[in-house]
């Protein structure tokens, strides 16, 4: 149902009423923003000296390093989660019951435990000196489980005839999975896989809690180590770093939408010729 089904085309009265709502609502939102800005100004968070810190080359270098650190953790986690996802889904769909059982338990367990708990346990228990790998491994484990479920849905959506045909041609189990089912599953699920990657990127921010120097941790360090006029520039740093974060996520999410649209447009699949209508049989004969 498109939204416009829910209401009639506005008549003269409704147009006036909508205008009133518009004005009142806009005034309320603007008033809230003005109030927030004034309060921040009162607290001295908007003074030019506060924002001047971003002109220091040291702080700029910190931010660049933080972006690199975030992207490094994200890259490792993206590769790790995709590889783990493929391994887990192959295990989950295996013909051997113990393998299937282990994969299913692993997926269910790590999908239902908060990611932060896993990351923290890996950090404290196994990699106390290497928060980057703790973060990357934790992210890979959790997102690998999610990607495995996504891929499983994709594989199940491949028509059964594909698999039967592949077996009929004499392909081995591995060949059927890797050269027939998996490519089609990945193609069908690409938008979902990428939006899970956006989630992975957002979740790198959990590195904040295990003191991995990614964007948020750097924001906190900058804000709490730089004193301007006896005050700490929390608001400017959070605004700057937050903008960087949100734009990175929006870029990746935009990529997902673009691929989804492109996939919908391109029809490269083989079109089966429509069956000829049954020959008219002469019943009277």
């Amino acid at each position: 149902m498109s939204a416009s089904v829910l209401y009639d085309a506005p008549g003269p009265k409704a147009v006036v009423r909508n205008r009133i709502y518009t004005v009142v609502g806009s005034v309320a939102v603007v008033a809230l923003i003005v109030f927030a800005v004034l309060r921040l100004k009162d607290k001295g968070q908007l003074e030019s000296a506060m924002w001047d810190i971003f002109n220091y080359s040291g702080i700029r270098q910190n931010i660049v390093d933080a972006i690199v650190a975030t992207l490094k953790a994200f890259g490792l986690a993206a590769v790790g989660s995709l590889v783990l996802g493929v391994v887990l889904v192959v295990g989950r769909l295996s013909d051997h019951r113990p393998v299937r059982w282990v994969a299913a338990t692993f997926i269910e367990l790590f999908r239902s435990i908060p990611l932060l708990i896993t990351i923290y346990a890996i950090w404290v228990g196994f990699l106390p000196n290497d928060s980057m790998w703790a973060l990357a491994i934790g992210l890979s484990v959790y997102n690998g489980c999610v990607q495995a479920e996504v891929l499983r849905a994709g594989i199940n959506s491949v028509p059964a005839g594909q698999r039967e045909a592949a077996y009929a041609l004499g392909l081995s189990k591995t060949q059927v999975m890797m050269s027939v089912l998996m490519p089609q599953a990945v193609r069908a699920m690409l938008p979902t896989i990428i939006s899970q990657l956006v989630v992975t990127l957002k979740d790198t921010s959990l590195g904040y809690i295990i003191l991995y120097p990614e964007l948020l941790q750097t924001a906190r360090l900058i804000a709490s180590n730089t004193q301007v006029n006896g005050d700490y520039p929390y608001v400017p740093t959070i605004i700057v770093i937050g903008t960087i974060y949100v734009s990175m996520c929006l870029l990746l999410a935009g990529l997902a939408t673009w691929i989804e649209k492109r996939g919908r447009r391109a029809k490269t699949g083989i079109d089966v010729a429509p069956a000829a209508p049954p020959a008219p049989t002469d019943l009277s004969a």
């Binding site: 948020l216 906190r220 974060y245």
Partner: protein, 215 residues
């Protein structure tokens, strides 16, 4: 075993903390989600714009960043004395409201066209159509995605523990700082979360069965 028995009262406090922050943020998220979903389909263009902006912004912000904003910026602007607990529930509730809104919006689009048309031809206004006809029917399709959203909320509530709110992650952190082995702590905390998430999915399965109609 010792880890749990020695610190059982803290564990219980953490468990109840997780439960209560989950409950409060769920209420905030559901109420706000329904309102924002109403905004997104409303006849007033700025309201629609506001709804879209809300969802886009909150969905693409890492939750940790929201917690940072709640901890460091909100007390400067609004009420200075707000407790970490209230701030954390607000951050979690606002973040989840954007997901709830999207779920409800896609639920609205599954209600047959004729329903809203019939409501309008009876002379119902937009809010009446939405409130009395469309939303009640959308509920049924919205329940399964809502269940996974609320389970995600429960898991996300762990982040609140890092911002000095008493809950299960806080317990894990405190005990591992005291030098207990991490693996048993991890298992007990995991068990705590499993209990909550299974309970939530059980409640939702029950709801689904109660609301089921033969179509």
């Amino acid at each position: 075993m010792n880890v749990l028995l020695d610190n059982f009262s803290d564990f219980r406090a953490g468990f109840i903390g997780t439960l209560s922050i989950t409950a409060i943020s769920t209420v905030i998220a559901l109420v706000l989600g329904v309102i924002i979903a109403g905004f997104r389909v409303s006849p007033v263009p700025p309201l629609r714009f506001f709804g879209t902006a809300w969802v886009t912004l909150l969905r693409n912000t890492p939750l940790t960043l929201l917690f940072l904003v709640a901890t460091f910026v909100v007390p400067l602007v609004f009420f200075p004395g707000m407790s970490a607990y209230v701030l954390a529930s607000l951050a979690l509730g606002l973040y989840t409201s954007s997901f709830v809104c999207e779920a409800i919006r896609s639920g609205i689009s599954t209600v047959p066209l004729g329903q809203a048309e019939a409501a309008r031809s009876l002379g119902m206004s937009f809010s009446q159509t939405l409130r009395l006809i469309v939303l009640p029917q959308a509920t049924r399709t919205v329940i399964p995605p809502l269940s996974s959203i609320i389970i995600a909320l429960t898991k996300n509530s762990a982040i609140a523990g890092a911002f000095s709110v008493t809950e299960l992650f806080g317990w894990q952190k405190a005990l591992s700082d005291q030098g207990y082995a991490i693996v048993p702590i991890f298992l007990w905390v995991a068990l705590g979360y499993l209990v909550i998430t299974f309970a939530i999915s059980g409640v939702f399965r029950l709801l689904e069965r109660r609301l089921e109609v033969a179509r």
